[in-house]
Symmetry: C2
Subunit: 120 residues, 2 copies
DNA sequence: TATACCGGTATACTTTAGTATAGTGATTAC
DNA sequence: GTAATCACTATACTAAAGTATACCGGTATA
């Protein structure tokens, strides 16, 4: 668990702060990462399943983004030695907890819409 | 205030959910918006002050990003009729509350680093 | 008169992100 | 034998984001 006191500490140290924000931005970055994470939030999926569920994504992008997410510890890739091979992608613990970030983003987005619309 | 119950409602309606996330992504989007918001969090600033405080930003980008932030209701731009004119940029209420989002991003980033480093 | 500050804009360029399209080898279904 | 599925990869392209450089009119300072 990250405690409040720790957050306060970090906010005093811009280096760590910036690192932590960047880690989070990396997950968000690009057109397809959030759709992929969203889709995987309903359970593990195979490559083609993801491709079908995410409209308009090309295999090139899906492959690239999954690799990014994998090296950054957001998803795991499991190859099953079946014939033909099946490959399953699943959210890690971090990947799942990313929902907390999304929740706050939604909350802020809603509040912002209210503030903003009120002003015109 | 956005209430928990409202968040639950929204999570059932993908349309609103996606809109709200997108509103938030728009604020984050691009290389310079977070530095600008961060800088303005310490108080209102003039154009050149921002340019000096944010290393390597060009006037073109600063101008463009400030416009984006303004039309999206994150900063206000105030022209004072002094001679020569001074222009001040300041965070709106929404702009200030964006810190809540950043806090959660930092928290997640820290936790993720812990999870991730533990795994190797 | 020359220089610098203010708040930018204009133009051209490079770099990065994303798209389009085709193809791989192994396997199974008709 | 032909076509389709699986999980991708390769190549070439377009579009978007960001950079570099120069410049604007107005004012103040030396």
């Amino acid at each position: 668990m990250v405690k409040i006191s720790e957050l306060e500490q970090v906010k005093k140290c811009s280096g760590t702060y910036v690192l932590a924000v960047n880690d989070t931005l990396n997950v968000i970055h690009g057109k397809w990462k959030l759709p992929i994470i969203g889709s995987l939030h309903f359970g593990k999926k195979r490559f083609k399943e993801l491709a079908r569920e995410i409209p308009k994504i090309t295999p090139r992008m899906l492959s690239k983004e999954l690799k990014d997410l994998e090296v950054n510890g957001i998803v795991t890739r499991t190859v099953h030695g079946t014939i033909p091979v099946t490959v399953e992608y699943e959210l890690t613990k971090s990947g799942e907890s990313f929902n907390d970030v999304l929740d706050v983003m939604v909350k802020w987005g809603l509040q912002h819409r209210k503030n903003f619309m009120g002003k015109r």
